[in-house]
């Protein structure tokens, strides 16, 4: 099979295509590619593997047996190309020359184009270990470009890796709670109705709805991603995937729990046909996002964080700007002005280049 250049190329194209497609799908999809590779490996096992081949309970032996199987069925040319060794008590290390890898086109193109990448060889080994040992595994790959070598590592999974948004049959869920995909016009009519009957509660309703609904999502993300930047990146990606806006962290100071967040094209920005007269004068209106960000940061820092929208795209500019502070610091006069240290407005694309991050 490996001799079949066309088949190998088609396989690579398929993976490239999946990687290009996943970011275009609504909602998330980080682990789908892993699931695809795992599924392929399980099919190979079901078709070709006799259980005797996988008698051992030793991860090293299991992986070696699987590589040998791939060689036997002609999927790879030589198992010697895949030296596997033990690295510490529960980590395996696999070294591979890129020129020998059947997934090299995918691997190289993904790296060049910054595509979503998960090495299919490593994920198939994860699948084999899970299949034989009944225990979840995870993997990473380090690429040494100069030497042309990929170094993969396999280790038992520490935390449950899954999606924040999932779907089972007709039930869509976000962080385990039922989710809905509604046209924005439905949301607009809810706001219209609140405005007509009780305009003074509108901002509070939105802030609190954003805050309270974001808490379970934030808690789930915190379990999955203990690093603050990773945690916020995942949550912001979820907001983008759900169509709420493109959110970018401008700065985060973990010592003071202060953050500056930008959002481009917030879903709360009115569109031509409706929601044009929600307020009498132009003003900041993204209170649901304001509450959402306050919840994300409150969950992360385990203290009350309040978030203010300082500037809204609905008034002018290319994005909304949110600033958050812990409530315990609320008391006391304000310090140095943000405006004096930052040139504003800046182009939306010039983010993350100013060294605002600290931890």
């Amino acid at each position: 099979m490996i001799e079949d250049a066309f088949a190998r190329r088609a396989l690579n194209y398929l993976y490239i295509s999946i990687s290009e497609t996943v970011p275009k799908l609504p909602f998330s999809g980080r682990h789908w590619l892993t699931e695809v590779s795992k599924g392929t490996a399980l099919r190979i096992l079901n078709e070709h593997a006799s259980k005797e081949l996988f008698q051992s309970k030793e991860p090293l032996e299991i992986c070696r047996a699987y590589i040998k199987l791939l060689e036997d069925i002609g999927f790879i040319s030589s198992s010697k190309d895949y030296p596997i060794e033990k690295l510490g008590s529960d980590t395996l290390k696999i070294t591979l020359k890129r020129t020998n890898c059947i997934y090299r086109e995918y691997c190289i193109e993904a790296e060049e184009k910054g595509l979503f990448f998960k090495c299919p060889r490593m994920t198939s080994l994860q699948a084999v270990l899970e299949w034989s040992l009944g225990k979840k595994y995870d993997s990473t790959v380090d690429i040494d470009r100069e030497q042309g070598i990929c170094v993969g590592k396999l280790f038992p999974q520490k935390k449950e890796l899954d999606e924040i948004v999932t779907r089972k049959d007709h039930i869509l869920k976000i962080a385990g709670r039922r989710a809905l995909l509604l046209p924005k016009i439905t949301y607009s009519f809810i706001l219209e109705a609140i405005k007509n009957y009780a305009p003074h509660i509108l901002k509070h309703v939105l802030y609190e709805a954003g805050y309270n609904s974001a808490i379970p999502i934030a808690e789930k993300a915190k379990n999955m991603y203990p690093d603050p930047l990773e945690y916020l990146t995942i949550l912001f990606e979820e907001l983008k995937n759900a169509g709420l806006g493109e959110v970018i962290l401008q700065s985060l100071d973990t010592s003071t729990c202060e953050a500056v967040i930008w959002c481009k094209d917030s879903f709360q920005i009115p569109t031509e046909e409706y929601e044009t007269n929600l307020y009498r004068t132009p003003r900041v209106i993204c209170d649901l996002l304001r509450g959402t960000f306050a919840a994300y940061l409150s969950v992360y820092f385990q203290k009350d964080i309040i978030c203010e929208e300082m500037h809204c795209q609905s008034v002018s500019g290319e994005h909304c700007e949110f600033v958050s502070f812990p409530l315990d610091k609320e008391n006391g006069p304000g310090g140095k002005s943000f405006d004096s240290t930052r040139k504003y407005p800046r182009s939306f694309n010039q983010n993350r280049d100013t060294g605002f991050f600290s931890s």
């Binding site: 009498r280 004068t281 309040i306 609320e330």
Partner: protein, 242 residues
């Protein structure tokens, strides 16, 4: 008036009455009984300004500025972000020399000095849409002679109008002489009177919003309530007589 040049009080029921809103440079006189909710109204006015991108300056004469911070926080408005951005300036004219605030005004008995310091602060925010609240201005005027008060009003309000400052001056009912209050009220564009009505057993809060026209204060009267979350709520569909 272009939309962005309009300003509202931030109290839904009153803003519906002020259909066209106010322009920057307008001056609002708030008169009211002690404890009726004048500072709550000031909080609504500031919150509205912060949400519209205005720069809000609050001169606290009767309580430390911290009280306004806590008050705004109860409306879900975190003041620190605005203070840091230079959009909310809380001026301590209460604790005087003991103040730990960034901005403070002392020696309140000297009206000229107050006006000078006020101008200094306003000068830092030139070319911004500024809302200025003095809570309460009557505190500054208690010991001043009538002619000084009127002269102070004339020069100060002229300056504020010329500089497009949307001003809200708060007066506690009963502090100043009625005659001075009447003359002063002619210098303002909008008068808001807040007082307790009803019977002693069932007091209700009443608010009137209007203008002085041909020597008479013309306004409809409404009942209102104070909500700890939403601020002043005016039942403007329940007018209670002229």
């Amino acid at each position: 008036m272009p939309e962005t040049d309009r300003a509202f009080l931030g109290v839904e029921g009153l803003d519906q009455i002020l259909t066209e809103g106010l322009s920057f440079g307008s001056q609002i006189m708030v008169q009211g009984d002690t404890g009726v909710g004048k500072t709550v109204l000031a909080g609504d006015f500031i919150k509205e300004g912060l949400h519209c991108g205005d720069t809000c300056i609050y001169i606290a004469c009767d309580e430390p500025p911290e009280a306004m911070r806590q008050h705004l926080l109860s409306f879900n408005v975190g003041t620190r972000a605005y203070e840091k951005a230079g959009r909310l300036i809380l001026v301590d004219a209460y604790e005087e020399e003991q103040s730990t605030e960034k901005y403070c005004i002392s020696d309140l008995s000297n009206l000229e000095k107050f006006f000078y310091l006020e101008k200094q602060i306003l000068n830092d925010y030139k070319n911004k849409k500024v809302r200025l609240v003095v809570d309460s201005l009557s505190t500054l005027l208690t010991t001043a002679p009538a002619e000084d008060i009127l002269e102070f009003h004339r020069s100060r309000l002229k300056y504020l109008r010329k500089n497009n400052i949307l001003t809200m001056d708060i007066f506690v009912h009963g502090v100043l002489d009625d005659k001075i209050m009447t003359i002063s009220s002619h210098l303002y564009n909008v008068i808001l009177k807040m007082n307790f009505g009803g019977s002693p057993a069932h007091p209700v809060r009443m608010i009137q919003i209007g203008k002085v026209r041909s020597q008479r204060f013309v306004a409809a009267q409404y009942m209102f309530n104070i909500s700890p979350t939403f601020g002043i709520i005016v039942a403007n569909d329940m007018e209670v007589g002229i």
